[in-house]
Assembly symmetry: C2
Homo-oligomer: 203 residues x 2
């Protein structure tokens, strides 16, 4: 006898494919939905179904969007000569939410990680270089995580962009490193404190 009705088992299988969801959590999700109103579940189902048909990838910045080019790339009020390079789609709203940035974006789709088989050709680097070569770009902000893979990608991109930009017209920048707000100096690691010292600001 199957442990659960097939409909429940199938849905649990679909849920357990999501990142960080194991078979037990997947079942919890299914039982939660079973207790919900059928209308809400149909809305949920429709939302998943509509993903493929209504979401496209912006051919300029590689972000998911309903339009192509996306709202940010086609916004005349934003400085299209500044490109903020982020690793994942999720990173874009983090920058956007600060309200401090009014340029364009470029979503790489990951960071270089040769040990796990992520090489430059698997990221949207070709597309970034195309933008750099075919537009008057003033600045590229490399907004990648300050970890091993992020730093490797920053080094790689910096070298690559400089090789195309013989006259050094493009300013390449990275996010500042230092103590995060609310941090405790006592527990901060040496690299962070060293970064904070090197980048100290006059008051």
């Amino acid at each position: 006898m199957p442990r659960f009705p097939l409909v429940i088992q199938n849905l649990a299988d679909s849920f357990s494919r999501l990142p960080g969801v194991g078979p037990k959590t997947a079942l919890r999700f299914v039982f939660y939905l079973l207790r919900q109103k059928q209308d809400d579940n149909i809305k949920f189902a429709k939302a998943i179904e509509m993903l493929g048909s209504s979401i496209a990838t912006c051919h300029v910045c590689q972000n998911f969007s309903e339009k192509n080019p996306c709202a940010i790339c086609s916004d005349k009020n934003r400085d299209q000569a500044v490109i903020c390079v982020v690793a994942e789609h999720q990173d874009l709203p983090v920058i956007e939410n600060t309200g401090e940035y009014l340029g364009a974006y470029h979503v790489l789709g990951g960071v270089l990680d040769p040990l796990h088989g992520i090489t430059p050709d698997q990221l949207k680097i070709k597309e970034l270089i195309y933008r750099v070569q075919n537009n008057n770009i003033k600045e590229i902000v490399l907004a990648l995580n300050p970890d091993l893979e992020g730093e490797t990608t920053i080094l790689y991109l910096t070298k690559l962009i400089k090789s195309f930009d013989k006259n050094s017209v493009i300013k390449i920048t990275r996010l500042a490193r230092g103590l995060p707000i609310g941090a405790d100096l006592e527990y901060a690691d040496e690299v962070t404190v060293s970064d904070a010292l090197k980048g100290r600001k006059e008051l």
Copy 2:
């Protein structure tokens, strides 16, 4: 400008209603689905849609099932005179997976927790009593968690069933308490060790 296309935002909202899923995890799920094959997503959507139409609650044991009464309640090879009472739907397969139990089940839909407003009328206790009064029940196994709410529910149900069962025909049992397999006596709490001592078995 909305932070994300509406389709993405709507789906993230649906995901974030699932237990233990916050807005960030919900977005991770959506971005994961965006990278999947459209076919798989449609299958996922269909599975959610089908929940309401193909899953019913068994009117006997209150378990979710494709049939009513469910496969377990209508199985002639199982001892329908023994009822194992579990709190949640998820608990049923845990008992079933042991392969040790060949009776029927009853899903309460929770445990008594007056502090959080869960009173007897919100659980499927009425349905349990109906089964006890209208069938020749030999044994009721109360397979509830050995925590405060579970123990309260065990006490309540025992008293209630005994009040209907004047001649004490029905044996009411509970799961044994003791050391779980692989436990370390050194780190076991006093109550568990005390339970294990009281329930010690001759070899």
